[in-house]
Amino acid sequence: MKNKRGDVDKSILVQIILVVLVFTMFLGVTAKKIDGRGVRQDIIESQIAMAIEAGVPGMSFEISKINVNGIINKVNIEGGKIFISIDGLSSFEGHSYFSRYDVKVIDEKGKFLVVIS
């Protein structure tokens, strides 16, 4: 009898662990979408890519670190793509931009400066 009770407890424990695992997986995968960080990241990357494409040498623009889309942690330009880290969510895919000119990002206090030269 005692043994059966122990078996039942063990089974329940295994099930609880499995359910917790599944929930963790689920939240891990959907968190980016649920809180909209992924969408906001895509939007701001697209906006910056278009601003770069429309830019001409001598032009520069600022991206405030405390942005309407969230806290911008990092702006990086690499291999013709722009990567923006927002609210701690790193960007892995980035957004391609097509420009004839050199583009660089300067990290300044409270803002990122994108300079086209």
Binding site: S11, L18, V22, T30, D42, S46, S96, F98, R100
Partner: protein, 168 residues
């Protein structure tokens, strides 16, 4: 002792079934929730318009498109002529076609020509909702231009077509 071993095996089997079942349910939940939370941010149409403008600014100087100044190499890679990075060739197709009335008199096409048939899929009946988000960005516009050819300035129409591949 034998019975206990059998019981242990049975428990392991049961646990494996539970793990397989829970994993299956997890994948179903992920699949369904993925559909609900799916989103597309596609700015490629606007970007194709910006590229069209940039290419036109590059080839047209003081309102005149000097075709004579373009070498055969320049005509084959108008992006390099304009100073774009070579990566653009994989992702973008640009065509500049010059018309005299209804007749096409010259055409300069550069970039990934495969995008032409990708675009054709999206304008045909083959297009389905599931491939909507992979639609390439597209711009086409006809403009009146002064073309300098063989030392003579001619009034012509130019059809500019730009296709941008969807980002992977």
């Amino acid at each position: 002792m034998m019975k206990k071993k059998g019981e242990a095996m049975g428990e392991t089997m049961l646990m494996m079934y539970q793990i397989i079942f829970v994993t299956f349910v997890a994948f179903v939940i992920l699949g369904v929730s993925g559909m609900f939370y799916d989103y597309t941010v596609n700015t490629r149409d606007s970007e194709s318009m910006l590229i069209a403008r940039t290419v036109m600014d590059c080839v047209i100087s003081d309102g005149v498109f000097d075709i004579d100044s373009l070498s055969e190499e320049d005509r084959e890679d108008i992006f390099a002529f304009c100073g774009f990075n070579s990566q653009i060739n994989e992702k973008v197709f640009v065509s500049l076609e010059i018309f005299d009335g209804e007749n096409s008199v010259d055409k300069i096409a550069t970039g990934n020509e495969e995008l032409l048939w990708v675009k054709k899929i999206y304008t045909s009946k083959l297009k389905t909702k599931s491939i909507d988000k992979y639609e390439p960005g597209y711009f086409n516009g006809e403009f009146s231009v002064n073309v300098l050819k063989d030392g003579e300035i001619l009034k012509r129409n130019m059809l500019v077509e730009v296709i941008i591949k969807h980002d992977e």
